[in-house]
Symmetry: C2
Subunit: 304 residues, 2 copies
């Protein structure tokens, strides 16, 4: 440690303020394999941030959008909002004895996933509405906060907040170091993601766009309250991602990252802008350290 | 000028880097009358940004929300999106001969405002849908851009982009200088405001929240396109402002500014948080230099 400190001090004395920049330039993406993908990313950032080059993008236009499930964090074996919903059913079954008899709740309690998913889209929507709504927004945030601190992934045993991809965290940092604003544009429910994003990704909640359950404001005896009404309002997937980018960001992104067919529209929309654009698909191929999947997967299907 | 430069240089030599801060502290809001309102604002910013004080608010929580019509820019004699709609009717009537016979279009063409507003809510909604939808989002942006550059206020003869309140521009700057993020939360259509906000307020489009017409993404022969469908989707007023803050900002603001009953919920929601909060109502009392109105006004009604 002392030797390193001495070496660093020597470099500082020799190079002064250049040190920080040289260190960043050295390798901004150390977890990435050297290859065409990494090269394309570094080239894109270098070209769009060079004020003398023809591909320069002014800071206010530097918008990079990222899918979440399967792009920034794992989506296997199930999307995390589903894992949360499963745990909430187990936690709150005493207040809902009927869940012992009805699918998909019965399947969850008996750890029979086949029964759960046999309940179809309607059953899954019912599950989400039952576990994500019917309380105040503040109470829901508290439920998610508690879950984040305690719930662990079935296979790895890690906390879910650690199930994020290190290369992608480096990428987020790399873009932000170059004055890009990084937005998450996810199919997951946005209020489920709000309690995580600052800590896990360094992304403030106002840079999250996602699916929505209906919120309803009411002035009650206890003051102003936002209730979570039992209705799904907007699915932020496929073309919906572009629509919500148009409302909430109001600019066409210059870089877009996804991993499934649900992200295709967002990448196409990004690519149709002028100048240099970067579109990246994360393809899960490492079955040993993570999961390998694409066309045949029920979650994060990558086919088109 | 030379004397001033000499004086400034002397101060710099004497005080070094303190100069900038001292200048800002001198009077951050020169257009504001000295009085309890200005005092409350300065006290709020001073207390919430003092890291040693009990009211300190960390940077990530420094969210200030502003209504637009009547708070940041004028809303008299009519909301600007209506002025735009009126002008679009005049501009495009040759493509819509039926407008010569139907209200509220006929009234607009004959400059008969009473006929226009007699068409009621349904007529006004029809007017907005006819003039704000039915094209691509990009084409609409171009229409608004053109209008911003040329259209002038009936009474003052100024460009609409100059019809903003100087004291409020100072306020936006003052908050941002102290690391607050400034959001507009408006009842106006958000895509109408997007082309202005950067230039007029220094607020990036991703910090705008407003009402919405339905957008629809489609992949066409000419590539990916966002269409403006002829349907009003969400009215961002009253409780709706709190609901959209909950989705899009994901944090409770610590400061809120409005001027009408439509902003009350947003101010109440802001006030219900812990610690120091600032809620400001702009009351239009200067009939000579602007307009004086409150309870009886059809726009920007301030009663409750």
């Amino acid at each position: 440690m002392k030797n390193l400190a001495f070496l660093l001090l020597t470099i500082i004395l020799l190079q002064g303020c250049d040190l920080v920049e040289k260190k960043v330039d050295a390798d901004p993406l150390p977890s990435w394999n050297d290859g065409p993908s990494k090269q394309a990313i570094v080239e894109f950032v270098t070209l769009t941030t060079n004020p003398d080059g023809k591909y320069f993008v002014p800071e206010e236009e530097r918008i990079a959008v990222f899918d979440n499930d399967g792009t920034l964090w794992s989506e296997k074996p199930m999307y995390f909002p589903f894992e949360f919903a499963f745990d909430m059913v187990r936690l709150h079954v005493s207040e809902h004895p009927e869940w012992n008899e009805e699918q998909p709740f019965k399947g969850i309690l008996e750890r029979d996933n086949q029964a759960v998913f046999s309940s179809g889209e309607e059953g899954i929507l019912d599950l989400l509405v039952e576990t994500h709504t019917g309380m105040t927004n503040a109470a829901f945030k508290q439920m998610v906060d508690n879950w984040i601190d305690t719930a662990r992934h079935d296979v790895t045993g890690w906390l879910y907040k650690d199930m994020v991809y290190k290369p992608m965290l480096e990428l987020l940092d790399y873009f932000r170091t170059h004055q890009f604003r990084t937005f998450i544009v996810t199919g997951g429910p946005v209020t489920f993601l709000q309690p995580w994003s600052d800590e896990v990704y360094g992304i403030p909640t106002e840079q999250l766009i996602g699916s929505r359950f209906k919120l309803v404001y009411e002035y009650t005896d206890e003051g102003p309250v936002v209730f979570r009404a039992p209705a799904f309002e907007f699915l932020n997937d496929e073309g919906g991602k572009v629509e919500s980018i148009s409302y909430q960001i109001g600019k066409r992104p210059v870089a877009a990252f996804g991993n499934s067919d649900g992200d295709l529209a967002m990448l196409q929309y990004t690519s149709a802008g002028e100048g240099k654009r970067l579109m990246v698909y994360i393809h899960h191929t490492d079955g040993e350290r993570e999961y390998a999947y694409d066309r045949e997967s029920p979650v994060g299907r990558l086919d088109k």
